[in-house]
Amino acid sequence: MTNPGQRWVLVSAGVLLVTWVLFPVYWALIASFTPEAHLFAAPSLLPPACILDHYRALFSERAFWVPIRNSLIVAGTTTLLCVPLGTLCAYAIARLHFRGQGALLGVILATTMFPQISLVSPLYLLLRALRLINTYPGVILPYLTFAMPLTVWLLVGFLRQLPRELEEAAMVDGASRLRTVWEIVLPLALPGIATTAILTFVYCWNEFLFALTFTLGPERHTVPVALALFRGQYQVPWGQILAGAMVATAPLFLIVLFLQRRIVQGLTAGAVEK
């Protein structure tokens, strides 16, 4: 279909794109291995010296495993809460008939569009009254405001793509609705559910405003908050900041590399298939 000239244009556009997309990441990666003294002297594409000092300092002096642990707990718990409840809700919206179905999906979609800043002050006062400021539940509860609608939205998209015939056959054979869901729908929907879980986890891992507002000290900061508030005594500790940035992003790189097809499917399932 494509002639050689066209292919040449496409390939060079592809190369240009990959460079534009990856260069900033590459630059930061190099910087995280460069001694502080060389960091801003005579930029070159290869580091003048390669050291691991920044990574060592990150974990020994900065105790960076604390924010990593916090992020894992917060994002993991939020995902574990959202996916099962979201699956039930999404199944009802995608497959069952009831009055107010469309309105319900509309309301759920609308909550994803709430500007987070509009919820920050009442959530702060609420969490303060419950003595949950600077605790894990104090971050997880606010996270549900965007993670619940996200999971439902993605799962409705996935479930609508599943064939109905198997379910109908099972029900004609006399299986109850819940047994059908458990034995037929869940196994079929598992890839979609896994993708939803991954996307939910990524959104929670990256969240900043709520984590910044509802945690007070380094012992509860999540990874993005810890990175944003990194300060040196005299100057910006760029080496350590970038080492931290790379550690925060590494798991996401792996997810993208191995699951790109799934992610693309997830991002578009709800939005375009209508």
């Binding site: 279909m1 494509t2 292919r7 496409l10 390939v11 592809g14 794109l17 997309v21 990856l22 900033p24 630059w27 930061a28 801003f40 002297a41 005579a42 930029p43 409840l85 979201g86 039930l88 809700c89 009802a92 069952l96 008939h97 179905q101 319900l104 909550t111 569009m113 709430f114 500007p115 987070q116 800043i117 509009s118 919820l119 920050v120 002050s121 009442p122 959530l123 702060y124 609420l126 549900l144 619940m148 609608p149 891992w205 990256n206 900043f208 405003l209 910044l212 507002t213 990175l227 944003a228 760029w238 992003t249 996401l252 790189f253 993208v256 790109q260 693309v264 991002l267 939005a271 375009v272």
Partner: protein, 303 residues
């Protein structure tokens, strides 16, 4: 089946549906809708955590009156609107180009697609730090390259210049979010029936005519969806600017969310901050309604 059993089946299905929906609905009502209403209530009261002895008296629309006569509020609104307009326009344009490149089959396409997802997956805070590093003044790579190429004679101190400070902000946002736009548009491209192009070619239409008369019109729904997501997201921009410029120099790059955040958590003026939050919400809501109506009209037109 008799009508009676049919009706009772439908009723039991509806009962089951509400049972399944209930947990999610209860959570959303209690931690999203209720707080939103609380914000509205709060915005009608004087609530200053620095002055607890004043209590929380009802003051009507005074907080809103203050906002509407506050120059810093209008300035921040202007910044956010300009940021949204510029970044979303660039992102949709570039995203379309990117989607077209990804749509064609060629060797290495999988690699390009994975690479493109990297900025999308990255935390916004990390993206902001990476761009801050590159624009670091006077010694960052951007200054080094621009002075080497002779574009600038002197390195520019980007972050102390009220207009130049927007350059890294916009570039970082475009870099981070164009991939998402491209993915949505790519999915839209893939729903277009390839036989349409074949027919057009037989009728003698060139690539440009095919693009204008087939691709663009059929891509409109996907385009609108991307537009909604991106506009609403750009309108609430916070993380990126918090890390990249802190709203500075002075308040030259301060978006409205950052201003409201400062009012609430540095000045502890929760009542006034709530009024700002409600105004931000109303703009989002108006934008969403506008787009959804456009999308609805689109749906009827196409189907």
């Amino acid at each position: 089946m008799s009508r009676n059993t049919e009706e009772s089946l439908a009723r039991s299905e509806a009962r089951l549906a509400w049972l399944l929906v209930l947990p999610t609905l209860a959570i959303l009502l209690s931690i999203a809708l209720f707080p939103l209403l609380w914000t509205v209530w709060e915005s009608l009261h004087l609530h200053d955590l620095r002055m607890p002895w004043r209590g929380r008296p009802f003051i009507g629309l005074a907080n809103y009156a203050e906002a509407l006569t506050d120059t810093r509020f209008w300035q921040a609104m202007g910044h956010t609107a300009a940021f949204t307009l510029v970044s979303v326009t660039v992102e949709l344009g570039l995203g379309l180009a990117l989607a077209l490149v990804l749509h064609h089959r060629y060797r290495g396409r999988g690699l390009v697609r994975a690479a493109v997802l990297v900025p999308w997956a990255m935390p916004t805070v990390v993206a902001a730090l990476v761009w801050r590093l590159m624009f670091e003044s006077p010694v960052g790579i951007v200054n080094a390259v621009l002075t080497d190429l002779g574009v600038m004679r002197e390195p520019l101190v980007w972050f102390t210049h009220p207009l130049a400070a927007w350059v890294p902000v916009i570039l970082a946002d475009v870099w981070k979010t164009t991939p998402f736009v491209a993915i949505l548009l790519l999915a839209g491209l893939q729903t277009i029936d390839p036989t349409l192009y074949e027919a057009a070619r037989i009728d003698g239409a060139g690539p440009w005519q095919q693009f204008c008369h087939i691709t663009l019109p059929l891509l409109r729904p996907a385009f609108l969806v991307a537009l909604i997501f991106r506009t609403l997201d750009a309108w609430r921009v916070f993380d990126l600017i918090y890390v990249l410029t802190g709203g500075g120099p002075g308040t030259a790059t301060e978006p409205i969310a950052l201003y409201a955040f400062g009012v609430m958590f540095s000045h502890l003026r929760f009542g006034f901050g709530a009024a700002l939050s409600v105004l931000i919400f109303l703009v989002s809501f108006a934008l969403a309604l506008l787009y959804i109506r456009a999308l609805g009209r689109e749906g009827r037109g196409v189907a």
